[in-house]
C-alpha cells in the first residue's frame, strides 16, 4: 500500500508505540506490515474519537454550567436551523469517509492472498490444530503441552500456561505465507494477535488469510471461537525463523516423514509401540480420557478396565480409526498416521490393568484404513 494513507498510518503508528508498549492495555503492534497498519488505524480512529468526545462533551458541560437555571437562563424556543443541521450531518460524513478510506485500503491488503511463497492448510479439530505444508509432504498435529498437573493445580503454573504446544507451526520470515483454513468438526478460530490473524475455521468451508512476518520470534495465540469443553486447551504457537533455518527444518521434517512411512511395513516390538503410544496418548487422548485412562463418563468413557476394549480388538481399532458418530470421539484416520494409531491402540490395551499383551502392527492399521 503506497499512498498518503500509509504515511498517515505510519505517523500514527510511530507516535503511539510508547503508549502501547508501556501500558500493556492496548492491542499489540505486531510483527507484520498488516498488523502495524491495523494498529495505526486503531490509534487514528481512537484519537479521532477522543477529539470528538472532548469537543462534544466540552460544549455540553460548558452549556450546562454557563446557562444553568439558577443563573436565570431561559430556554430558546426555535423549531429548526437548517444550516446547523446540514453542518452536523456533513461533518460526521466527512470524518467517516476520512476513516473509511485508509480502513478500506488496509482491508484490501489483508484480503490479497495472491502470489504466496508458501501455502499451509490449517485444520481445526477438537482440540488441536493440524498443519499441512502443501506441496512439501510435511504435516503434523499441534497439541497443547501444558502438563495436566498444572491444570489441576497440583503444580505451579508455568510461564506460558495453556499457551505451549508440542509441535509449533514453523514459518519463514520475509516470505508471504498463505493459510487455507478449515475445520473437521465444529467452528474454531485461529488467532495470533502479534500476526493480526484471527480467522474462523468452518467445517465444509475454506477461508484464506496470509502473513509475512518481519521479525523472528515465538508468537502465541489461542482458539478464539468457543468450540467445546476443551476450547481453552488448543493454543497456537508460531515459530518465525530465518529463511535458511526454515529450509533446514523443512528438510528434516521431510526426512522424518519418509522414515515414518518406512516404519509402516516393519514389525514393531511391544516395548517400542508402548513408548510411542504413551507419547501419542498424552498428546492426543488424555485431555478427554484423562491421564490414567479413568475417563470422564458419560461423555468420555474410561479406558482402564474397559471390558469391551479389552475383549474386542477389531472394535477398538475401528473406534480409533473411524471415530464414533454422534459422540465426541473423532476419526483419527487423517490426524494420526498408521504407526501412531497402532502405538496408541497398543498402549491403551496394555496400560492401567489392561494387560492384553497385544502388539498391534502399523501394517494392520494401514490395511484397516484402506478398507
Amino acid at each position: 500500500m503506497r499512498s498518503p494513507w500509509r504515511w498517515l498510518l505510519s505517523v500514527t503508528f510511530i507516535a503511539s508505540i510508547p503508549q502501547a508498549q508501556a501500558s500493556g492495555w492496548n492491542m499489540p503492534v505486531g510483527v507484520t506490515d498488516i498488523s502495524r497498519d491495523i494498529y495505526g488505524l486503531h490509534m487514528t480512529i481512537f484519537w479521532v474519537c477522543v477529539v470528538i468526545g472532548v469537543i462534544v462533551f466540552g460544549v455540553m458541560f460548558y452549556s450546562l454550567f454557563r446557562y444553568r437555571h439558577s443563573k436565570g437562563a431561559k430556554a430558546a424556543h426555535f423549531h429548526e436551523h437548517t444550516s446547523v443541521e446540514v453542518l452536523w450531518t456533513a461533518i460526521p460524513v466527512v470524518i467517516l469517509i476520512g476513516m473509511a478510506v485508509p480502513a478500506t485500503a488496509t482491508l484490501k491488503n489483508m484480503y490479497d492472498t495472491s502470489q504466496a511463497d508458501l501455502d499451509i492448510m490449517i485444520t481445526g479439530q477438537q482440540w488441536r490444530w493440524r498443519y499441512e505444508y502443501l506441496g512439501e509432504d510435511v504435516a503434523f498435529t499441534s497439541n497443547m503441552s501444558t502438563p495436566w498437573e498444572q491444570i489441576r493445580g497440583e503444580e505451579p503454573r508455568g510461564e506460558h500456561y495453556l499457551l505451549d504446544v508440542d509441535e509449533p507451526l514453523v514459518l519463514p520470515i520475509n516470505r508471504k505465507v498463505r493459510f487455507l483454513m478449515t475445520s473437521d468438526d465444529v467452528i474454531h478460530s485461529w488467532w495470533v494477535p502479534e500476526l493480526a490473524v484471527k480467522q474462523d475455521t468452518i467445517p465444509g468451508f475454506i477461508n484464506e488469510n496470509w502473513v509475512q512476518i518481519n521479525e523472528p520470534g515465538i508468537y502465541r495465540g489461542q482458539c478464539a471461537e468457543l468450540c467445546g469443553v476443551n476450547h481453552a486447551f488448543m493454543p497456537v504457537v508460531v515459530h518465525a525463523v530465518e529463511e535458511d533455518e526454515f529450509e533446514v527444518w523443512l528438510a528434516e521434517r521431510k526426512e522424518a516423514a519418509e522414515q515414518e512411512a518406512m516404519g509402516i511395513d516393519r514389525e514393531w516390538e511391544l516395548a517400542e509401540l508402548m513408548e510411542r503410544g504413551e507419547a501419542v496418548y498424552r498428546a492426543i487422548c488424555s485431555s478427554c480420557h484423562q491421564p490414567e485412562g479413568q475417563g470422564a463418563p458419560p461423555a468420555f468413557p474410561a479406558l482402564a478396565n474397559n471390558e469391551q476394549l479389552i475383549s474386542d480388538l477389531d472394535w477398538h481399532i475401528d473406534l480409533v480409526v473411524n471415530g464414533v458418530s454422534g459422540t465426541a470421539m473423532p476419526a483419527f484416520r487423517s490426524t494420526l498416521n498408521p504407526v501412531e494409531i497402532a502405538a496408541v491402540v497398543t498402549f491403551t490395551r496394555n496400560s492401567w490393568g489392561n494387560d492384553t499383551g497385544d502388539a498391534v502392527q502399523p501394517s494392520t492399521i494401514s490395511g484397516w484404513i484402506a478398507q
Binding site: 423549531h79 429548526e80 437548517t82 443541521e85 446540514v86 450531518t89 478500506t104 484490501k108
Partner: protein
C-alpha cells in the same frame, strides 16, 4: 419537480425545513415524490456499487 427533488434529497440526509415541508404537503403530489424517491434511491445504490467496485480494483 425541482422542489420534489430537493425534498427527497433533504429526506435522504434527514434535514428538512418546516416551510418546505408545509409547501410539499399543500401543493405536492404523492406520486411525484414516490417516483423521484425511487429514482434517487437507485442512483444512490448505483453510486455505492461503483464506489465499491472502484475500491476493489
Amino acid at each position: 419537480m425541482w422542489s420534489a427533488i430537493k425534498s427527497v434529497l433533504a429526506a435522504l440526509i434527514g434535514v428538512q425545513s418546516d416551510q418546505q415541508r408545509r409547501t410539499d404537503f399543500s401543493s405536492g403530489k404523492p406520486v411525484v415524490f414516490i417516483v423521484v424517491a425511487i429514482g434517487v434511491a437507485c442512483i444512490f445504490v448505483i453510486m455505492l456499487a461503483a464506489l465499491a467496485s472502484m475500491a476493489a480494483r
